[in-house]
């Protein structure tokens, strides 16, 4: 529990698209009045947008390839199409140099344009990234269940909290040969990641940061969450079986014991030079993060490309998800190696559809008996997952960001009450909107099942 919970909830708040139109239209009208004319007559002419001379583009790709060659052996992910060998390389250059117009170019180092298999690069890198998340966040490593260390956490200043949230914390010795320390897991996590990461919102970079060498100073690629949430500290100072006090003075940061809190919350801790893992309870039955689609290349240039790939995350409601969350991943060619330079969340067909349905039902008094995830079930930790459990995306058109869904919604008594098919805009660069809906009552309205905060339908 931390302030990131507040941030995450706030991040989901956005004004209606209607406001945008109203504000901009109103301001434009005022402008027109000021200009004392009815219409804008600004014309822009004579502007031509070009991406550069064709041959220079060709050369730039070739130069990029020269840089990349060194990376082939080390990364193993640069894939040539057509298996061009050295002989073919020479022959092509000879053919190209016969043209007078490219005389100057032949004086440059002889390089050949290479076509990269972007999908294959993306597949390998994104798989590595997801695997590393599963290792880091969900403890997806082999361990010896017979070698464990146990501690008992509590807060000496708060007995009630200790009784509710403190208690036994057991870790098992990691036997996975890849990882001997938390730093090893961090190195694995950042292997496909560029040293400088861009964080983006709707495709626009809003901040950049450098991946530090030490995991204790690192943040996640996708958000600002500290990796200490999962990769804990050396806890050798605590005796196995001992009680670990989490109390500290909030006015004195120096009293915060990160090792103690690692025992309480982290997935991994180090103890006497060994790495230990806690087996984390999963949020749902979906297991770890997994891809639901293959990478789709959406944009490519000589030294960068972008792919879209959907991930089923192990959160509430994702158990039946066909798609999950879209990750928009940008790759850059850096010093001859491809690296991931940003990961942004895009469309979320199931989640956003559930939010749209929630809003749609909420505003219609005739459905006040329908459980839309707030209140009673929200308190039980179900939230939006309550709708997602019974929701199926039957069609999803990524080009227009529209879903067709079928959902069966419960009343507050837990009975199937509404059968709903709907067309929903799930554009992550917009608001969730039910565009059309066909709703059939399965169970008649019963006012005794009204949601506690619902406006009466009567």
């Amino acid at each position: 529990m931390n302030m990131n919970d507040y941030k995450r909830v706030t991040d989901r708040l956005a004004p209606d698209e209607r406001c945008r139109k109203e504000v901009l239209d109103m301001s434009k009208r005022e402008n027109k009045i000021k200009m004392n004319k009815n219409e804008y007559t600004e014309n822009v002419s004579g502007v031509e947008v070009r991406s550069g001379h064709g041959i220079m583009k060709y050369v730039s790709i070739a130069a990029a390839c020269a840089l990349i060659v060194g990376g082939i052996g080390t990364t193993g992910v640069l894939l040539h199409k057509g298996s061009k060998n050295a002989q073919q390389f020479t022959e092509v250059v000879e053919e190209e140099t016969t043209a007078e117009a490219v005389t100057e170019i032949t004086e440059e180092p002889t390089e050949l344009p290479v076509e990269y298999d972007y999908a294959a690069i993306a597949n390998e890198f994104t798989q590595h990234y997801i695997d590393s998340l599963n290792v880091m966040q969900y403890g997806d490593v082999s361990y010896d269940s017979n070698e464990s260390i146990t501690f008992y956490t509590y807060d000496s200043t708060n007995e009630e909290w200790s009784n509710n949230y403190g208690g036994e914390r057991t870790f098992y010795k990691v036997t996975d040969e890849r990882f001997k320390s938390c730093q090893d897991i961090y190195e694995y996590y950042k292997a496909p990641i560029a040293s400088s990461i861009d964080r983006k919102h709707f495709g626009e970079t809003y901040e950049s940061f450098t991946m530090p060498d030490n995991y204790k100073e690192a943040q996640g690629v996708e958000d600002r969450v500290t990796l200490l949430s999962w990769l804990g500290e050396d806890v050798s100072k605590f005796e196995v079986g001992s009680r670990v006090d989490l109390a500290y003075d909030p006015e004195d940061e120096g009293t915060f014991d990160y090792a103690a809190h690692s025992i309480h919350t982290a997935t991994y801790v180090e103890y006497n030079g060994q790495l230990y893992v806690r087996q984390m309870p999963k949020f749902s039955t979906t297991g770890d993060n997994s891809f639901s689609t293959e990478p789709a290349v959406t944009h490519e240039e000589a030294d960068s490309f972008t792919v879209s790939r959907f991930v089923r995350t192990p959160y509430l409601g994702y158990a039946n998800a066909k798609y999950g969350d879209e990750k928009i991943i940008t790759f850059n060619l850096i010093d001859g190696e491809w690296k991931i330079s940003s990961i942004e969340t895009g469309d979320r067909p199931e989640y956003t559809s559930a939010v749209a349905i929630q809003n749609y039902i909420e505003k219609r008094a005739e459905y006040n008996d329908i459980n839309i995830g707030y209140d009673s079930e929200g308190k039980a930790g179900r939230g939006i997952g309550h709708i997602m459990d019974k929701l199926e995306v039957t069609e999803y058109d990524s080009s227009i960001h529209v879903c067709k869904v079928h959902a069966v919604l419960h009343n507050m008594n837990g009975e199937d009450a509404l059968d709903m098919t709907a067309e929903i805009s799930v554009n992550h660069n917009g608001n969730p909107v039910v565009m059309s809906a066909d709703i059939t009552r399965i169970k008649d309205y019963d006012s005794s099942y009204e949601r506690p905060n619902a406006v009466s339908a009567n």
């Binding site: 909830v9 708040l13 901009l24 301001s27 402008n31 009630e160 308190k379």
Partner: protein, 161 residues
């Protein structure tokens, strides 16, 4: 006079930040949207050239906070802000922790919510918050301390920050 393209750019860049600040203060969508619209109309009609985006954003948030205060000084809100319920309709919680922490923050008095939002969500410094709210830095520090203490009382545990 500002060109429409520039207006669109400014709106798209800052509307979420302005709306979220207003929502943190007003606790309901309708008022937050009204305030956001007023803020942008003021911005578009103001003949100001900012040195950089950071200054433009802090100016927008300052106007937002002032407009929120104006709204809550009006007769429409005769009760203190803490008695105004949080409008849940547009808030999505994915975990119980998110719900608990968000409700705890929203149960704070408005001046505490404001500094919590600016400090933890927008990640402004005490000095920057002072410039936005017009309160002294020492007052901001006190408000932050008291807000944290109240959160601890509500949640039964100091939040990890």
């Amino acid at each position: 006079m500002m060109y429409p393209e520039k207006m669109t750019e400014i709106y798209d860049k800052y509307s979420n930040a302005v709306y979220r600040m207003a929502f943190a203060y007003c606790k309901n969508k309708a008022d937050a949207e009204d305030i956001m619209q007023e803020v942008f109309i003021r911005r578009f009609s103001a003949d100001i050239v900012f040195e950089d985006e950071a200054k433009e954003k802090s100016w927008l948030l300052k106007v937002t906070v002032n407009k929120c205060r104006d709204m809550f000084r009006s007769l429409r809100y005769k009760y203190s802000l803490t008695s105004i319920p949080l409008e849940e309709a547009d808030i999505i919680y994915e975990t119980q922790e998110e719900s608990d922490v968000y409700h705890a923050v929203m149960s704070l008095p408005n001046k505490y919510r404001t500094v919590i939002h600016l400090f933890y969500y927008e990640e402004y410094t005490i000095k920057e918050i002072s410039a936005i709210t017009g309160d002294k830095e020492t007052a901001i520090q006190t408000q932050l301390y008291r807000a944290r203490k109240k959160l601890k009382d509500i949640l039964g545990k100091e939040l990890r920050l």
